[in-house]
Amino acid sequence: MDPVRSSVKHTPPELKVATKRTKKALTKDHLMAIGFLTPSLILIAVFVYGFIGWTGYVSLSNWNSLVPDFSFAGLQNYIYLFKDFRFQADLRNTLFFTILFILTVIVIGIVLAILLDQKIRQESLFRNIFFFPMALSFVVTGVVWQWLLNPSTGVNLFLSKIGLDSKWYTDTTIIPGVSWGKIEFGIPVAIIAIVIAAVWQMTGFSVAMYLAGLRGIPEEVREAARIDGASEFQVYWKVILPLLRPITISVVIIMAHISLKIFDLIYAMTGSGANYVTDVPGVYMYETTFRGNYYANGAAIAIIMLLSVAIFIVPYLISSRKGES
C-alpha cells in the first residue's frame, strides 16, 4: 500500500541497523511499543476485521427484509447474484472500467511525467496544475463532468452543432456485444464518459509517482546508455521504463482498488444508466441494501467486492513482505 517504499528500495542498510538494535534492547522500549500498538490493534480487529466477518456472516443468512433473519441460507445470495442480469452487467462494467481507467492513467501519467522531467521552467506550477484535481472529491468531479458531457449541455452541444454524434453519453451500445450469460459482453460506450472523468481526476497522482520515479533514476544510467549509442527514444523505452516497473506496480494497485470500489463518481454522474450500462457493484450494493432492504444480498455484493480487490492487493502485500525480510 505504501507507494513510496518501492521507490526507495535501494536504502536497506539503515533498516538492518534498526532491526539489530531492537533485538538487543528487548526491554522497556519494546514493551512500550507493544503497549502503544495494542489499542489500535484491538480497534482494527473489531472495526475492520470483525465487521468483515460479520458481513460475511450476514451474506450467508436469509436477512432480506426489514426484520433481521440470521437463519443459514448457504450460498443462495451469491447464486442469485451471479444469475442476475444487473450483477453480470456490473461485473462487465467494472472489468472494462478498471482496464481502461488504469491503462489511460498509466500512459498519460508516464507521458506527462517525462515531459515535466525535461527541466522546463515553472515545473512546480505544472505539477500543481496536474495534481490539483486530486484535491476534489469524486462527487464534485461527477457533477461537473455530468454537466460537461450531458447531451443537451456542454461539450456535446458543441459536437452536435458541428454535426457530430452527441448521444454517446447515454448510448446503450456494447462493443462488440458478444452474448454471454444474460448480458452482452464488451465495452459499454457510456462507460467511456466515466473513464474520462476518473482519469481527469486521478492522472495527477500517477504523474507525481512517475516523476518521483524518474528523479530516482541516477543520471549516470542515462549517460551510460547514451554512450553505448542508444537513441533518446531507446533510452526511455529500454532503460528508463523498465526501471520504473515498481512505480507502475504501485500505480496499478492503487488505481485498481479505487476503480473496483468506485461508487461516488458514478452515483453523482450517470447513476446506473439505461440498461445498467454504467452500473457498478457499489451502486447495486447501496440500492439493494438500503432501498430494497435486501441486507443479505447487499452483504454478498460487499464480500465479492472485497475479494476482487484482494486479488490485486494480497499478492502485492506478500511480495512486499518478501522484499523486506
Binding site: 426489514l66 447531451p151 445498467y276
Partner: protein, 426 residues
Amino acid sequence: MKARKLKFMSLLLVLAMVLAACNSDSSSGDGKKDKDAKLDIFSWWTGAGEEDGLNALIDLFKEKHPDVKVENAAVAGGAGTNAKAVLASRMQGDDPPATFQVHGGAELNEGWVAAGKMEPLNDLYEEEGWNDKFPQDLIDMVSKDGNIYSVPVNIHRGNVLWYNTKVFEENGIEVPTTFDEWFAAADKLKEAGVTPLALGDKEPWTATQLFESTLLGILGPDDYNKLFTGELSFKDDKVKEAAETFKKMLSYINEDHSSRNWQDASQMVANGEAAMNVMGDWAKGYFVNDLNLKVKEDFGWTETPGTEGEFMVITDTFGLPKGVSNPDDVKKFLSVLGSVEGQDVFNPLKGSIPARTDSDVSKYDAYGQETIEDFKQASLVPSLAHGSAAPEGFLTKVNQAVNIFVTQQDVDQFIDSLDQASGELK
C-alpha cells in the same frame, strides 16, 4: 527520544478523550428516555415548498403546545433515498425518531408494521373522530389487520398527464383521454417535430411511474389492486397488453431520457421542447414555483389515458414507533397533523392536497381545488412506484425490470421478471 515519548503520550491522551466522547455520546442517547426528551420529526422534506410547509406545521404545534421541545430531523435527498437508509439503521438500532414520514400502503404496512415496530393509533382516531373525516380507502391504506398505524397529512396524485397548452393549441390537439386519442395526438406531434412525451429516467422510478399509470389505465382499479394481493398473475394477458402499450409509448420519448431527471423532463414541457409528461402532481409545484408558469394558462393537466375517475394515491403519513420515550407528546403532534388547521397550513405550501375531506378549499389553487373534488369521488388506488402498492423489495426489482425494459423492450422477458419478482409479495 524523550520528545517522542511525550508525543506518544499526548496521542494516547487524545485517543482516550475520543473514546470518552463516544461514551458520553451514547449515554446522551439513553438520556432520550428522559421526561424532557425532544420530539424529533423525521422526514425528507428539505426542498423549497415542502420545508416551508413542515416548518409552518411545527410552528402551529409550538403555538398549541409550547411546553414540548420539537426538533426538525429532516434528511435531505429526493424521494427519501437517503432518509430511508438513515431511518432503517435508527429503527434497527432501537433508537427510533419520535415520529417519521412514511408513505401509506405497503411501505408502512409490509415494512414497519410487519416488523413489529409501530404502535396502533385506533384510540387516537376515535378520540379525534377521524374515522369519517378521512376517506375509508385511505384509512385502509394505513391499516393492517384492523389496526390503524399512521396519520396521513397530504395527498399527491400520481396519474397526471401534464401538457404544454401552447404546443397543444399550435398543433390543434384535443386533450387525450384514451390511449387511442393519446397515440393519435403523439403521432401528430411527432410529425410536427415536437417530442410528444418527455421522460427523465436517470432515476428509474419515473419510468416505473409511467408504467404503473399505463397499467392502471388498462387494468382498471380492481384488477390493478389484485396484482399486488396475488389474486391476478403478472402473466395475465392484460398485463401483457399494458407492457405493449408502455413499449409503444416509449417510442415517443426524448432520446436523452436516461441522463435527465423528472425536473429536466418537466422543463422540456415547460419550454415547449416536449408536449407532455407523466408525473405526480409535485410537478405542479415545480411548474409554478420554480419555472413561474401559470396554472391552466401555460400548462394544463388531465388524468393519464384511461384513468379518468381513478386516483393514484401517494400519501405521506406519520406514525408512532414502538419504544419512544414520549408517546403522549407524539400523539399531541399527530393530532395537530391530522387536524383541519394542520392540514391546511401544510398542504398549500407543499403543493399537495389535504388528506381530510373537510378542509378549507379556498386555500388551494385551481389545480388543488379540482384535485380535492376528484379525490372525494374517484376510486383510490395505491402507487407502485412510491412504495404504496407493494413492499420496497418488490419495488426495487420492478425498477430494475423497468430500467432494462426501457432499453431492451422485450415484453416477454419483462413479464417474466415481473412475475419472478412477484414472489416477494407473499
